[in-house]
Subunit: 298 residues, 4 copies
């Protein structure tokens, strides 16, 4: 079933998602804060609209992929926002990692327009996405999910319904806090081994052979030996996710002491000028604290 | 090549190791603080000696597996200790997770007797061991390792030489701090998700499908839904390992902030009366902090 | 010089401040979310207005004292807010502990109306205020401060100009993070001493005689022996202040690891049902973690 | 009552204590690891002995002041140690900040010799001592304390009996963890204020006027503006005290999360090459983390 779909936010992740929708044969109307960046997509048939609202006016289903709750409010609300353009009966799927509070705030406006909203954050990196292996968690009405499932499948093959609107984002934040802390723990382990007399390479190797080696550590752990040219997920993005997790924790009344400490270390990563580096750069903060050399940069 | 081997410390792990040596056809002389516990091994042919020293006097290669640096000094040093009984040219392999400092202290005495020492801590649980899948890291002279490799292979199939004496134990502590922190991070993630409105089972499921799911979390994560009857590795043991990691860090001059915080949480686990539970019981400490129910106990 | 002053937010602190202004002979127009609570002030001559805006319309100088940035925006902005009622040339003095960002946001609207704003958070407790000993830090134009100094002096005798608008609030948050952490450190010290075998009373006594005994600890430390009936500053308020400090830290790019950890402990205090207790109740969270008895409640 | 007293450990603090005993008219026999450093005391009448044991053989009451539990065992135990030389009925007063475990271990040997031991750690800096204002906490038999009280009064005027042997040291560690954390909290507060736009000097000033200003902060806080030439108490000493507090906490089963985190920061201070600086140098570690300039060094 070919449809006219909208996509707001055509950055690193969003652009690749829109491309997969185009490749699946759908008509895609898009919007990006910096339109020039969407040129390759336009070459493949994407039609650029003037505003998020115009995207929504043209589409049956609208997707968005932005960086944080403020950006979500920016594209979704206001006179030129997505909500203002949604057709009755349309579906709005936000794929960003934002906050349950922002998601629900937008969701209420969507419902007031007679449309429906889902939150559908994704798990995985750019390469997972390009290989068509992305996992998508979905919050919202299951019947609405069924209506958009074919389009989501064009983006990624694994779709898990988590609960009502906002809970997919909550689950995503919970997952990401674990990733952020794991990278800190891995760094402390490498540095302890190194300072005890084991070569950094050998320490990384031993850790990645151990039962601590999560899939994330398997790809990101070696970054402490050589940082990639482009961040898979930046330190700044992880700092933001940890902040959102802490905000949600405070709202819900659950203390997250280790997350709080890790959050300070990613802020230190940004303060050290490494905000745009892969989040593995938190290693450098800990290396400096221990008087050890930082990770070699690409 | 069948040999007469010694084994000091026939507890949960040590006993199973000695059994594998017996099963491989070796003569094994053993010692345990509580001799009665070694009954099943005696039934399979192990000969009990009166002291660690007597074990060493009877064997070409002596193994030990005890709980901490104090216990290592207890069985290795002194008039009745292993070192006092070592034959010239013998090899002493300590498989405990202790400290590089304790290992080297014993190692010097061993060398003074004209024998050689290796540290050979293991990675993996009882079931890994029983399935013959244990990974062994070894520190010490590579030539000495070659001499005892056949016996180590009877215990576990994967042997990695890490460096000079003491470094295998250092690497083990580095790995274990990662495991201790991962369990804390996993707990914070589950509790955040739960308090945000996601069922605990669903949260565990989503986390174990994510890129954060290390092999350790794959087997231990579900413990927060139902704690096992017997600890795979107790909270008290993890507290001890984190303390040893912190001590090594201080000695080496490398700060380990997240390890330090996790250490306090495992001490809290012990203070809560859960010392003998699996280390996954640290979840309960965090659950109480957030006003959530603890993990169901077997 | 007797003037007509406005006061928005007549709670525990705000009410007592308004009373001091009345006692100094000024005419005071006030507003409170729950008007009934202002009865004692009305008995002393305060005139209640219908809205924050009406307060501003009636006064030369308007004060406000509310709990957090959201409450500040609630009383200051919008159709019925203070800003909408400010006369040209009027001065608006916010005495709340909010955030520099919220202060500046309101400040811009105030300037747009041709009025001026100061942030003037206070240091000290209810009893300090009642004894006329309150210290006030002020941010904003020094010339504007001179115009309202007489009224501020009626509230408290010590006035320190910190810098441009917003910096007094920033300084206040910095001070309060120190108070929040000190109470945690004091709790850890008492509990360590107690578990080592020293009576809690003796431990408190020794700490309060030591060089660690800040004025805050001198009055709050004994609360772990007997919590006061009414909070001097509640655990929830401290949790809020630490959150604001952390938010400011993230905004400014300065990591605050100890503040982050303390913040989690105050969230745990709230999760334990002690939100309305004095912030000294963080002691109970740590006492429980160590398996020790909580502070006796009034 | 003039007596022959022994003093082992004539360093920065110990030397000044011995001098006060000499000034009070007592005969003092002393020992120092580096005898040359005791020259000024010898000039004032102190007699140097060949070993700690020889000191004890010559004195009715022996004092010691050393840096850590290992140093205490070094001077107290063994063939040439204090215990071996104690006369029956003598009193041994250790004034070091060590650990209750080490104190009790030595105490048992002292009792076995028919002598008595007290632990008597002191609160205060070199200048407090020189002004005759030192506070002394004492653990052990109160009757024994009465016998040595006149000599202790020559060292400092405030003597508080805390409980049985070892508890004075425990109390001292509890006090010191509070000092270590306060300096960290103060640093975070200064850095937050500074990064928010307040001059460092103004921030220090505001903090030292606030209710957070403990006597310790009053003298040490200004060090972040200019570090003293000589440490009042070095970062390394504070790291050691925090480690002893954490060890005691683990032994006693009380988690100390904030102490654990602070401990990592003092280890980082040492890793940054600032071990011998005043403990206020922990400020530099946090300043670097936030990308701010370090404290000016003398």
């Amino acid at each position: 079933m070919v449809a006219t779909l909208g996509f707001v936010g055509l950055g690193t992740m969003g652009g690749r998602m829109a491309r997969r929708l185009l490749d699946a044969g759908h008509a895609v109307v898009g919007w990006n804060r910096t339109p020039a960046k969407a040129k390759p997509l336009v070459d493949r048939g994407l039609r650029l609209a003037d505003s998020p609202r115009a995207v929504a006016e043209a589409a049956e289903v609208v997707f968005s992929m932005v960086t944080d709750p403020a950006a979500l409010r920016g594209v979704a609300l206001g006179e030129d926002g997505i909500v203002a353009g949604l057709r009755p009966g349309a579906v709005y799927v936000d794929m960003s990692t934002v906050s349950p509070a922002a998601t629900r705030e937008v969701g209420e406006r969507v419902r007031a327009r007679g449309a429906a909203m889902l939150d559908a954050p994704v798990s995985g990196s750019i390469s997972t996405l390009e290989q068509g292996q992305l996992a998508i968690m979905v919050g919202g009405d299951p019947a609405v999910l069924e209506r958009v499932r074919p389009y989501l499948l064009a983006i990624g093959p694994t779709i898990t319904h988590v609960g009502p609107l906002g809970l997919a984002v909550a689950m995503k934040l919970a997952i990401n806090l674990g990733l952020g802390i794991q990278m800190v723990a891995f760094s402390e382990a490498v540095l302890l081994a190194e300072k005890a007399g084991i070569a950094r390479e050998a320490a990384v190797d031993a850790l990645l052979k151990s039962v601590a080696a999560s899939p994330m550590l398997k790809y990101r752990g070696p970054f402490v030996l050589k940082m990639p040219e482009a961040a898979w997920a930046s330190a700044q993005l992880m700092e933001k996710d940890l902040q959102l997790a802490l905000d949600l924790g405070r709202e819900a009344g659950v203390p997250l002491p280790t997350t709080a400490l890790a959050s300070a270390l990613y802020t230190a990563t940004r303060a050290a000028g490494l905000a745009a580096q892969d989040m593995a750069a938190v290693f450098d903060v800990l290396a400096r604290l221990g008087g050890l050399r930082e990770s070699p940069k690409a």
